[in-house]
């Protein structure tokens, strides 16, 4: 998987239950329905453009989910509601749908980083009763704890991941060679990063020496794939202090990060502000590397997938580009660092069980077309979801909470 424009490659999909939808299968408040008498339509909101390596794969993937779901629940229909644009476009558009229960989707595939906001607005229903039941979620136990916890908020699971992204440094091998940098490049600390970038600049190559994502235009994705990596690679790799429940806003590590950025930009090693502050900033290094206009970039595993696309095809990427882990600031243990980030699916209905069926079906297909997905596919050939008598929470107010 990847993100277009700024596709995030292997984002995971989380499936969660929104508390908002009233008119899903069974027609609103029917909480005692069984599989056989399930009638109605479940709507899934998803991105048609940023998750998979090509837009048509997105359609194929979701069409298969629809087919399997409707086989499992023959009296129910799955209405696919695709949105194009970036991940930020998606969450903005779907957020508007959540303003009104009549337009709220039952299932929503969204970047994991935004799930907390939906939970904070009381839009999602916990999935613990499903994921903790091995008959309903046979795949859950195979998820690494760190992945399970990624969709856990205040001790409750609200989403199921269907993939995973991580970060690294991409570089153009020949550009570093021309700069006198030994390849394969193996930076051990941030001084090594700066030394290579300076060498590229000094060599006279008219390229961006080092892409260090900055600014707010790319939203959470820009931070996930940029400065957050450096925070975790710093000598104080803490963003949130879970013991004290406080955000770390000043630390030796944060000062290392700011100093690193200051060095990059004061020495004119970084990208232009027009690229950095573009809404498509996350995808710019993909294009700039392909076009031989960039030497080194903090990037993600989805970059390589993106170079297989028609519109960003880089036929010789395998020969020209390389990747290496992001080193810690001073080479301290564990030596390298990376953020992890995904996609999410959310759903909401008074009939949580059948929606869990959609979750199982959808998550079962994850990886089928998603090159590079870290989590292995655990496709459930016979989803065991049952329509439950679970009562959804009251719908949120149109303005959220």
């Amino acid at each position: 998987m990847r993100i277009s424009g700024h596709r995030f490659g292997v984002w995971t999909a989380l499936l969660t239950f929104t508390a908002a939808l009233v008119a899903a299968c069974g027609g609103g408040t029917n909480n005692t329905a069984t599989t056989d008498d399930m009638k109605g339509t479940i709507t899934v909101a998803y991105s048609t453009t940023y998750v998979f390596d090509s837009d048509d794969q997105s359609v194929i993937w979701w069409d298969k989910v629809k087919k399997e779901f409707e086989q499992q629940y023959p009296n129910a229909k799955l209405n696919l509601q695709g949105f194009n644009g970036t991940d930020v476009d998606l969450v903005n558009k779907v957020a508007l749908e959540y303003k009104n229960p009549s337009t709220t989707p039952d299932v929503f595939m969204l970047p994991t980083g935004y799930v907390g906001q939906w939970v904070g607005s009381d839009y999602l229903l916990p999935l613990d009763s499903f994921v903790n039941d091995s008959t309903k979620a046979p795949f859950w136990a195979s998820f690494p704890k760190v992945i399970q916890d990624e969709s856990k908020i205040n001790g409750k699971v609200y989403a199921v991941n269907t993939g995973e992204n991580n970060s690294a440094l991409y570089y153009n091998t020949s550009m570093l060679q021309k700069a006198g940098v030994t390849v394969p490049w193996q930076p051990k600390n941030w001084d090594d990063l700066l030394a290579a970038a300076r060498a590229v600049k000094a060599s006279g190559q008219k390229v961006v020496a080092f892409w260090a994502p900055a600014g707010t235009s790319a939203g959470a994705g820009g931070v996930l794939q940029g400065s957050a990596n450096m925070v975790y690679a710093s000598s104080t790799p803490t963003i949130y202090d879970y013991d004290k429940k406080k955000w770390v806003v000043d630390s030796p590590g944060l000062r290392e990060v700011m100093q690193f950025y200051k060095t990059v930009y004061s020495e004119h090693l970084g990208g232009s502000t027009s690229d950095l502050f573009s809404p498509k900033a996350v995808g710019r290094p993909v294009v700039l590397l392909k076009d031989h206009q960039m030497a080194i970039a903090i990037g993600s595993n989805w970059f390589a997938d993106a170079w297989t696309e028609q519109n960003r095809h880089w036929a010789t990427a395998a020969q020209e580009a390389s990747a290496v882990p992001i080193p810690t600031s001073k080479g301290q243990a564990p030596g390298t660092a990376s953020t992890l980030f995904f996609n999410s699916l959310t759903t909401g209905s008074t009939v949580a069980g059948v929606l869990w069926g959609a979750v199982v079906v959808a998550s079962g297909y994850r990886g089928t077309y998603a090159a590079g997905v870290v989590l292995t596919t655990t496709r459930s050939s016979s989803p065991t979801a049952r329509v439950s008598s679970h009562r959804a929470r009251p719908s949120p107010s149109p303005t959220g909470s």
């Binding site: 799930v115 907390g116 949130y240 955000w247 700011m258």
Partner: protein, 54 residues
């Protein structure tokens, strides 16, 4: 990433603004960049919910 925490969007905004300010004006000091992050977080999640590690 602590994306599950309510203050996460504020953190994204704060560190994004701090790094963006440096990219825009490299003369921005480290102290000033840290202050941007601190003030953004303190204003949005409350001063009692942020801390400095030494």
């Amino acid at each position: 990433m602590p994306s599950e925490q309510e203050g996460y969007p504020a953190y994204v905004q704060g560190i994004g603004q701090a790094t963006g300010q440096i990219a825009t004006d490299p003369n921005t000091s480290v102290d000033q960049a840290i202050k941007i992050l601190h003030d953004t977080m303190a204003n949005q999640v409350g001063a009692g919910n942020v801390e400095t590690l030494t």
